[in-house]
C-alpha cells in the first residue's frame, strides 16, 4: 500500500470557466470568534421548508437547545447558538424578497450548554439519517440541502460516496481549512458512512490548486487501517464549477445525473468535506450544528481570514472581529463571487450554509455596462450543461415558454459561468432564472 498513489484522474466534463483563485485567506488558520452579544437566527437555514420557532419572547434558552423545527421531510431543525433570553421573534427579509421568522437571542455572556447532551447511538442506516437530521446538518458547502435526505436513498442502490472538497469559487477557503485542520474528522465521517451504508468506494474530489490538502488526505488515508484501498482522491482540474453536484459526480464517476435527478439516481451520495467532518464530530459529541467556519475576504477586507462564528452572528460583528474594512465596503456577498448573494444590510445574520463573507470596494462593486449580445458563443462554450444561455435569455425576454422549453432552460444550474465570460456583460443568470420561472408558471 505504501507507495501506491491514491489519486485518480477525473472523468471528462463539459464546459467550465477559468476563474481567478484569489484564495488570499488560504494560510490563515481558523480563529474562533467569541459569541456576540446578540444573534438573529433565521428559521430558513437550508433548502426546503422553513422552521417554526419553538420559543417565545422572554424564554431563556441554552446553547444547543432546539429552537426551530418543521414537520416537513426536507428541512432541518435549528438550534440556539448561544445561551440567553429570547428578545424578539423577528421577521427577516431575505435578499430574494421573502420574509422569514427569526429568533433574536440576547446573550447572557455565559454560553451555558444544554444539559443531557449525549452522543447518539448509530448502528444502522435509519439511525444515521435520524442522527443527521437531529444534528441540524445541512450541506455546508453552500447549498444547504438537509443532509439526512441524502442519507436515505430509498430504493436506490448506492455504491459510491463522493466527497466534495473542490471549493471552486474564488476567495473561499473554508473547506480548505477543514481539510487541513480536521483531516481526521473527515476520515472518521467517511468511514462511518461507508460502514453503515455498506458503500464500496469513496472518492474525495479536490481541485489541483490545493496540493497541500491533497497531500495531507493522501497521507492519512494511507496510514489508516480502516482503508482497504477503496478510498481515492480525485484530483480535479481547477475549473469552475467543478464543485457543482452534476459536474462533480460526473468527474468522479463518469456518471451523468439525469435532469431533475439526484446523485442517488446514479448510485452516489455526495457530501461536502465540512459536512462529513461535522457529522463525525456530532456522532462523537452529540452537539448539534450551531457554528460555522467562514472566509472573510475581498478587496475591502483589511485582513482576509477564516473565522468560526456562531450561527446568527451579524456580518457587522464578524467584520469587526476580523479586523474591519479596508476603505469603504460597497458590496457585501454571502458566498462566493460566482453564486453568492449580495446583501443589502451589514446587520444581516449568517446561517449554517454560508461559507464566506466577501466585501468589495467601490472599484470591484461597480456594475459593468450592459451592451448588445454579439453572439460570440462564449457562453455556450463554458456552460457545463451544454445550454445556449444567450438564446435562453432572448426567449425569456420574449416570454416565449415554448422556446424556453426547447432550449431546456430548466436544466440551468445557475452557476454563472456564462455571465462571467460574456463580453457584453449580459445578465444571463438573471434572465435565465426569469425564464425558469416562466416555465414553472406555464406548467
Amino acid at each position: 500500500m505504501e507507495n501506491i498513489s491514491l489519486e485518480l484522474k477525473p472523468a471528462r466534463t463539459f464546459g467550465g470557466a477559468k476563474v481567478p483563485h484569489r484564495k488570499h485567506a488560504k494560510n490563515a488558520a481558523t480563529i474562533v470568534m467569541p459569541p456576540p452579544k446578540t444573534v438573529e437566527i433565521s428559521m430558513q437555514q437550508h433548502i426546503g421548508a422553513p422552521c417554526t420557532p419553538l420559543v417565545k419572547v422572554g424564554d431563556t434558552v441554552k446553547a444547543y437547545q432546539k429552537i426551530g423545527e418543521s414537520e416537513a421531510f426536507v428541512s432541518a431543525p435549528i438550534h440556539a447558538s448561544i445561551s440567553g433570553t429570547v428578545k424578539k421573534i423577528g421577521s427577516l427579509l431575505l435578499p430574494n424578497g421573502q420574509k422569514i421568522p427569526s429568533v433574536i437571542i440576547e446573550s447572557d455572556g455565559e454560553l451555558l450548554t444544554l444539559e443531557g447532551i449525549a452522543p447518539p447511538q448509530v448502528t444502522n442506516a435509519e439511525e444515521l439519517a435520524a442522527a443527521a437530521r437531529a444534528s441540524g446538518l445541512v450541506g455546508l458547502g453552500g447549498a444547504g440541502f438537509p443532509a439526512h435526505v441524502k442519507l436515505i436513498p430509498g430504493d436506490k442502490k448506492i455504491d459510491t460516496l463522493v466527497i466534495n472538497g473542490a471549493e471552486c469559487e474564488p476567495y473561499i477557503t473554508a473547506d480548505y481549512r477543514e481539510m487541513i485542520e480536521h483531516t481526521d474528522d473527515i476520515l472518521n465521517g467517511i468511514f462511518k458512512i461507508k460502514d453503515i451504508l455498506k458503500i464500496s468506494c469513496v472518492k474525495i474530489c479536490i481541485e489541483d490548486n490545493k496540493p497541500e490538502a491533497i497531500n495531507i488526505l493522501e497521507q492519512r488515508i494511507k496510514s489508516d487501517s480502516r482503508s482497504k484501498g477503496d478510498v481515492f482522491i480525485v484530483k480535479l482540474k481547477s475549473r469552475y464549477p467543478q464543485g457543482a453536484e452534476k459536474v462533480l459526480v460526473q468527474a468522479a464517476t463518469g456518471r451523468l445525473i439525469p435532469a431533475g435527478g439526484l446523485p442517488a439516481h446514479v448510485g452516489c451520495i455526495l457530501m461536502n468535506v465540512t459536512s462529513v467532518a461535522f457529522l463525525a464530530r456530532y456522532l462523537r459529541s452529540g452537539l448539534p450544528l450551531v457554528s460555522k467556519r467562514l472566509t472573510f475576504a475581498g478587496s475591502a477586507a483589511a485582513n482576509p481570514c477564516n473565522v468560526e462564528v456562531r450561527v446568527g452572528t451579524s456580518i457587522k460583528d464578524i467584520a469587526e472581529f476580523c479586523g474591519g474594512f479596508k476603505g469603504e465596503p460597497k458590496k457585501i456577498l454571502l458566498g462566493g463571487p460566482m453564486m453568492g448573494t449580495a446583501i443589502y444590510d451589514v446587520n444581516y445574520p449568517i446561517t449554517k450554509k454560508d461559507n464566506a463573507i466577501l466585501v468589495f470596494n467601490k472599484r470591484d462593486a461597480k456594475a459593468r455596462p450592459i451592451t448588445s449580445c454579439i453572439r460570440c458563443g462564449r457562453c455556450l462554450k463554458v456552460c457545463p450543461m451544454k445550454l445556449r444561455p444567450c438564446q435562453i435569455e432572448q426567449a425569456a425576454e420574449l416570454q416565449n415558454a415554448e422556446a424556453l422549453d426547447m432550449l431546456d432552460a430548466a436544466a440551468c444550474m445557475e452557476c454563472g459561468s456564462c455571465a462571467y465570460v460574456c463580453p457584453a456583460g449580459r445578465k444571463l443568470v438573471q434572465s435565465i432564472k426569469l425564464g425558469k420561472q416562466i416555465l414553472r408558471e406555464g406548467k
Partner: protein, 320 residues
C-alpha cells in the same frame, strides 16, 4: 456604515472575465493589419486612402445613426472600424472614394443600424455593401489594377488594368495566370485586401490563438472549396488562393452576428458556404462567388441554429 442604501445589490455572478466587445474587435483589427499593410504595399496610397475613407465614414455613420435613433452610443465598441476595414478590403484599389462612402452607408445605416445595431443584423454589413455596389456600379467595381501599378510612372491607369485570376480563367482573356507564389504573397489583381494570402493566414492564426474565432468555419470553408474544386477538375490550391476565399473564410464568414453560434451549425454553415462558392464559380456567369455564398448562408443562419435545439438533458431514471 449603518446606512443600508450604501450597499450595492446585484444578481450573481459578481465578477467577470474582463472580456469586452471592444477588446474582441480590437483583436480583429490587429488581425486585419497585416493584410492592410500588404494592400498598401501592393496597391499603393490609393488603397490606404480607400481604407481610411471606409473606416472613417463607417464610424461617422454609426455615430450619426445612434444619435438619430436616440440609442446609446456604440462607436466605442470598435465594430464600425472592423466593418469599414472589411468593406475596403472588398473593393478594388482604385475605386472612387465616393462609392466607398456609399458602401459604408449601406453597411452601417441600412444593414447594421436599421436592424438594431451590433448583434442584430442578419446579413454581414461589409458583404452586403459590396454586393450592392457591384450591382449598382458593375464597371467600377470590377476594374482591377496591376500590382505595383503606382510605381510605373507616366502611364495612365487604363494601361495598368488587369483581370483577377478567376476572371482570366472565366473570360479566357489569354493573359498569363499569376504563379501560386504570386497568389500566396498577393501580387495579383483583385480586391485590395483579398490578394495577400500570407497576411490573411497570419491574421487568421492570430484570431484562433487569441480565441476570438474558432477554426471550424475557416477550415471547413477552405477545405470544402479545395475538395469541390478538385472534384470539378480545378487546381485546388489555386482555387483557395484566388478570389476572396481566404478573406471570406477567415474574416467574413466568422462574423459572430451572422454565423451560427453552435459548433454543429458552424460546420454546416461553412461547408455550404464553400460548396456554393465553387458552384457559382463553376456554373454561374460570375467569376467569383464568395460574397454571394456568404450572404446567402447568412440568411439561413436562424434556420441552421434550430438544429439540435430540442436536445434536452436526459430525464428520468437511472443511466449508469
Amino acid at each position: 456604515m449603518n446606512n443600508k442604501e450604501l450597499l450595492l445589490v446585484s444578481p450573481s455572478p459578481h465578477i467577470s472575465s474582463g472580456a469586452a466587445t471592444s477588446g474582441i474587435m480590437l483583436d480583429v483589427i490587429i488581425a486585419l493589419l497585416p493584410a492592410a499593410a500588404a494592400a498598401g504595399l501592393i496597391f499603393g496610397y490609393q488603397a490606404l486612402i480607400l481604407m481610411l475613407v471606409c473606416v472613417g465614414s463607417c464610424v461617422v455613420f454609426e455615430f450619426i445613426s445612434r444619435i438619430v435613433m436616440k440609442r446609446k452610443q456604440t462607436i466605442g465598441d470598435l465594430s464600425a472600424v472592423v466593418t469599414g476595414l472589411l468593406l475596403a478590403f472588398n473593393l478594388p484599389a482604385t475605386l472612387n472614394p465616393v462609392y466607398a462612402v456609399i458602401g459604408s452607408a449601406v453597411a452601417i445605416i441600412v444593414v447594421k443600424q436599421m436592424f438594431g445595431g451590433i448583434g442584430h443584423n442578419f446579413a454581414n454589413p461589409a458583404i452586403t455593401a459590396r454586393v450592392v455596389l457591384m450591382l449598382s456600379f458593375p464597371v467600377a467595381m470590377t476594374t482591377w489594377v496591376k500590382p505595383f501599378f503606382y510605381q510605373v510612372s507616366g502611364s495612365s491607369i487604363d494601361a495598368q488594368t488587369t483581370a483577377t485570376p478567376l476572371g482570366i480563367i472565366k473570360e479566357g482573356t489569354g493573359e498569363a495566370l499569376p504563379s501560386l507564389w504570386d497568389m500566396f504573397i498577393g501580387t495579383r489583381g483583385g480586391s485590395l485586401g483579398e490578394t495577400c494570402a500570407a497576411a490573411l493566414l497570419l491574421g487568421g492564426l492570430y484570431l484562433v490563438i487569441r480565441r476570438v474565432i474558432s477554426p471550424i468555419i475557416p477550415l471547413c470553408f477552405i477545405g470544402t472549396v479545395a475538395l469541390f474544386s478538385w472534384i470539378f477538375g480545378q487546381e485546388p490550391i489555386f482555387s483557395v488562393l484566388s478570389g476572396g476565399v481566404l478573406l471570406g473564410a477567415i474574416f467574413m464568414a466568422t462574423d459572430y452576428t451572422t454565423s451560427p453560434i453552435t459548433r454543429q451549425g458552424k460546420v454546416i454553415f461553412a461547408i455550404l458556404c464553400g460548396l456554393i462558392t465553387v458552384l457559382i464559380r463553376t456554373f454561374a456567369a460570375l467569376p467569383e462567388g464568395v460574397s454571394f455564398s456568404i450572404l446567402f448562408m447568412n440568411i439561413l443562419v436562424p434556420l441552421i441554429e434550430r438544429i439540435g435545439r430540442g436536445k434536452k438533458q436526459k430525464k428520468g431514471e437511472k443511466k449508469a
